[in-house]
Amino acid sequence: MTRQHTTGPGRGSHAVEVRGLVKHFGETKAVDGIDLDVDEGTVLGVLGPNGAGKTTLVRMLSTLLQPDAGTATVAGYDVVRQPRQLRRTIGLTGQYASVDEKLSGRENLYMIARLLDLPRPEARRRADELLERFSLTEAAKRPASKYSGGMRRRLDLAASMIGRPRVLYLDEPTTGLDPRTRNEVWEEVQSIVAEGNTVLLTTQYMEEAEQLADELTVIDRGKVIAEGRVPELKAKVGGRTMEIRPTDHGDLHRIAGALAEAQLDGVGGASADEEAGIVSVPILSDEQLTEVVALLGTRGFALTDLGTHLPSLDEVFLALTGQKATHQESAPEEVAA
């Protein structure tokens, strides 16, 4: 039986496949031709500033919004033609997919389990199991409106995990949380990921994408501006930088001079930073790294510290978009919802 892979369940090579997806709100092109793939069992981070189109994308992939053009399949189901089947395979957590504030944590989870057709006793057990797993057992009977921000997000996560979805959407899971609570939610997400779940995560925090995602798609104004594995993306923007800290401050310029004289292929831009007490050298390959270290050794410079670092994602974003990832004024997607 041959069948086009986009129409058969589970036949796509990717858990999520998006091709040329477009959504306009009046004049605003919220999503303007996005392509992306999420492989089974991996986490794709969709990184972009506020108003980049992240939430609109997730809403289309959850059948909450109809795309204007393009195609998208989740677990092999088409978002437009097979919305009912598609909804069986997804879990959604986000700013706009929340729990019922008036109900207790347990009642919320029980209700969702019943809506997912678990028989009563199983629904009760599954609710308790997830309360335990997300450390909410003590708060199980309190209405969700009395929960702290972090507890609310954990309850949201628990709610979207009840049906063991094949693909989990996490739409800005930590926006608006303080750093400590953010770490708490990250741990939960990491444990969900460790179980082999497929996750599409949207975020405006570079750190969050770095912590949680395998692959990254960077979007801005509804378009993909870069994609790849996190280290690849960083390398694309610029190689590593080596930082050399000599014991003797006076060696700073001597080291910079020596590196310039040696004329190593590509190593030219060594610069001494008097204030920080370091020499910075851009490094393009592992071989160059060895050559630089060898040179320092033959000249006999005494060093306190030596290291390389990749550019941060903030720097990546700056390099890719030519602008800082600042919060733009709310896009219509945020207002309309």
Binding site: G76, R87, D100, E101, L103, M111, E129, A194, E195
Partner: protein, 288 residues
Amino acid sequence: MSTETVQTRTEPKEPVPVPRQAPPSPTDDGRIGLRANLRHIGALVRRNALQIKQDPESMMDVLLMPIIFTLLFVYVFGGAIGAGGDRDGYTNYLVPGMMAMMSMNIAMAVGTGINEDFRKGVMDRFRSMPIARSSVLLAKIMVEIARMLISIVVLLAVGFLVGFDVEGRWLGLLGGIGLTVLFGASLLWIFMLLGLTVRTAQAVQGVSFLVLMPLQFGSSIFVPTDTMPGWLESFTDVNPLTQLADASRGLVLGQGAVGSPVLWTIVWSAGLTLVTAPLAISKFRKKV
């Protein structure tokens, strides 16, 4: 974060065997069966009932409104309106009519409720789940009908206390209640549509109130329409609340025409439902 801590913390004691959703057969079109649909509606009705338990003030309209309005009209206006100070006569006239008023006042609440659900994001979760989208609305309708019935029971209880007398026409009373609920259900769809269209819950309330007052007072609920000027009478005569109040009155008191107002009430209810229910459901499906 070390992997060990994650695993010890996340290992459930007795994992519930929820299979990771296996790829369903290609013949599965994802339609929700009737039994599953009823189960979903049940779970959503339970949700609404729990909300009421959590927030008992939300039953104030149901419990207090019939008491206050009945006492107000019977004792403040009753003596003056009833022919020759006949307060008891007016009570008998008023109570069946007020059932119509209750159905409308209770129906109004559904608009604000649905508006809130959207604002709080609960609706997005429901709409991204494998349940019939109409089940969310049907559950609301069922809960509101229950609230309507409670409010009618309270109204009748107060009515009996202040002298309302059906003179043994209990079947007629049941018929009146049935008609009232039928008409009330058709109103629920209108207010639901309003709740889905207007942006904030406050606006829903404001608009509802504007519609409510003229409809209720421009009807035969409180006074017979024959003393009204002609232009007003022609409005009150087509007002469905007049038809409903007259129908209930005919059934309960055994006086006045019965057939025509009953028929018109049914026509109005069916018409309103046929027009607004599909609109509300489609609006619900497409709402951004």
